[in-house]
């Protein structure tokens, strides 16, 4: 009996995932296979490619800009993920209350996510412009700065972090707001009645209950942060002096400025490996700590 039930679960499980697996197989796995082959080629997308074995990977090892791009990508990710996930949890907690204008606040937080990156880039270009920008004007009022922001090689990457956290915060907030609906008010009230303070209630009741969402956001944000591109494309374009050249920006310029698609694919494969390690580690650690209720 048991084995038959288990067997039927194998079948129905696969039936449930079949449409998704089929579509993602065609539009996800196949292109990745193609990219993997490409990384062993000298390919300009225009003429007949030639097989070069692992040469692209050997070149990568000694490419100083590539190494820089790996560093920038990892620094960016290590800053972006905690700031955006932590910040959005705080903001979601603030928003998850029956107060006036809550609908307005939630909509406001959502707006940067819905705005086109071109418009976002323009605004930050103005805010952070060193000579005429608003940020330096305000900071000058409190005797700080002026800062170079996007134009200073030592500040540009951090400026990108600030801009992207601002732009993506609303996204994480939506996910957290949804997760917070699963936190029964009765539990929170019970904790309060037991004399737990605000922080203790959050720490021991709310936080564990939204931990599945936290794991999701950490894995998801990491995958995206490692591929940051659009916001850099509309502001610094990898500069000044390669200070914001991250891996995807570098592979983009190799493929579509220098016509080295094979080399670009090799960069993508390294990025893939880094991402996979990060994600597996997060899922493995997460599964030991995340509280799935019941």
């Amino acid at each position: 009996m048991i084995s038959r039930a288990a067997r039927s679960e194998h079948v129905s499980g696969w039936l449930f995932v079949a449409p998704a697996a089929l579509l993602i197989g065609i539009f996800g796995i196949l292109p990745i296979g193609w990219a993997a082959l490409l990384s062993f080629q000298n390919n300009d997308l225009l003429t007949t490619p030639t097989w070069v074995g692992t040469q692209n990977y050997h070149t990568l090892v000694n490419d100083p800009v590539f190494r820089q791009s790996v560093n920038h990508t990892i620094v960016y990710t290590l800053l972006f993920v905690p700031l955006s996930v932590g910040g959005s949890l705080a903001l979601a907690m603030l928003l998850n209350a029956r107060i006036r204008f809550s609908r307005f606040y939630r909509t406001a937080v959502f707006i940067p996510v819905a705005t086109s990156t071109v418009a976002t880039g323009l605004i930050f270009n103005w805010l952070l412009e060193p000579t005429y920008g608003v940020a330096n004007y305000m900071l000058g009022k409190v005797h700080l700065g002026p800062y170079g922001f996007f134009q200073d090689p030592d500040q540009a990457l951090y400026s990108i972090v600030a801009m992207t956290v601002w732009g993506w915060l609303g996204f994480d907030v939506i996910v957290y707001l949804a997760a917070l609906q699963g936190v029964p008010e009765s539990l929170v009230e019970a904790a309060r009645l037991d004399g737990a303070g605000r922080w203790a209630t959050f720490r021991h009741v709310v936080f564990p209950l939204v931990s599945p969402a936290t794991l999701f956001l950490i894995v998801w944000s990491t995958i995206n942060a490692l591929q940051v591109f659009d916001e850099i494309y509309v502001t610094t374009r990898g500069g000044p002096l390669h200070a914001t050249t991250v891996m995807v920006y570098y592979l983009y310029s190799q493929a579509f400025e220098f016509f080295h698609a094979g080399y670009a694919a090799a960069i993508a494969e390294v990025l893939f490996a880094i991402t996979l390690v990060f994600s597996l580690l997060q899922l493995w650690l997460g599964n030991r700590r995340v509280h799935y209720g019941s």
Partner: protein, 272 residues
């Protein structure tokens, strides 16, 4: 000590944050009512000479935007529907069912997110071409019918639901599909609303893929239409921003409607 003011202290934190977040909309609205010469100033003109609403009809008439909105709507709603259905099925299987190769498959799905689009763009085009879909709306729909994002999101949410309810339903003779549709989904409205909003947003704002796969005006989307205001040598900022405001409207509408699901469910999940 009691809070002395007649409003929640949360407002003190939320007001400045909201102001910061409203910047892009404010900027877009401001530029969209300026004259073209006014938009060509830096630092920007903050008080325009008047309300040049004419930019809106001008932007709308610069290209067949009625058609573009209809196309975008077809593509986006199809993607939202596809994601709600297929991600629910797959997310539930990954959350609750034990089947051969489950964990490997899950990681494989996630792995498809780990290679940047700049690299997979060309093979994806070749596949769509093989299917005979180039320059048609299905080329924008089919690859977006299901996303690993949605599967992962729903899997995480489904796992937090009280399993006792599902077990009880199964005891009553419900099939797996029955449990999903009658028990799990009604309890997951916040998560489904999130998925719907996010899918709407991405599909509506998608630019590079439509640019590559669509070559005729008839099949163009809103974002492709907007790109036409950014020329090779000049950008018409006033029309671009007027167009952007119009393109933002449906997304805001969806969000404002979707919000109901976030708030309402607070009261209705008394089940737990």
């Amino acid at each position: 000590m009691r809070w002395p003011l007649p409003f929640s202290p949360r407002h003190l934190a939320l007001m400045p944050i909201a102001a910061l977040m409203l910047l892009p909309l404010g900027w877009m609205l401001l530029t969209s009512i300026q004259t073209l010469p006014e938009s060509r100033h830096f630092p920007p003109v903050l008080i325009p000479s008047g309300f040049h609403w004419q930019n809106y009809p001008d932007a709308w008439n610069a290209a067949p935007f009625g058609r573009f909105f209809a196309n975008s709507m077809i593509v986006t709603l199809s993607a939202v529907a596809g994601n709600l259905v297929f991600c629910s099925l797959a997310g539930y299987a990954f959350a609750r069912m034990r089947f051969f190769g489950r964990d490997v498959l899950f990681v494989a799905l996630l792995a498809t997110l780990m290679v940047p689009f700049q690299v997979t763009m060309i093979p994806t085009f070749l596949i769509v071409q093989k299917m005979g879909l180039v320059n048609s709306l299905p080329a924008l729909i089919v690859p977006n019918l299901v996303t690993p994002f949605g599967i992962f999101l729903l899997r995480q949410f489904f796992r937090t639901l009280p399993i006792e309810l599902e077990e009880a339903a199964r005891m009553d003779g419900c099939s797996r599909l029955g449990v999903l549709v009658r028990v799990v989904l009604p309890l997951s409205m916040p998560a489904l609303a999130t998925l719907a909003i996010v899918t709407f947003l991405w599909t509506w704002n998608d630019f590079l893929w439509p640019l590559i796969v669509i070559t005729s005006t008839n099949q163009s989307t809103v974002q492709l239409g907007l790109a036409q205001f950014q020329g090779a040598h000049q950008t018409n900022w006033t029309l671009l921003m007027a167009g952007n405001v119009m393109a933002l409207a449906p997304m805001l509408l969806v969000f404002i409607i979707g919000q109901r699901w976030f708030v309402q469910s607070l009261a209705s999940t008394g089940l737990k």
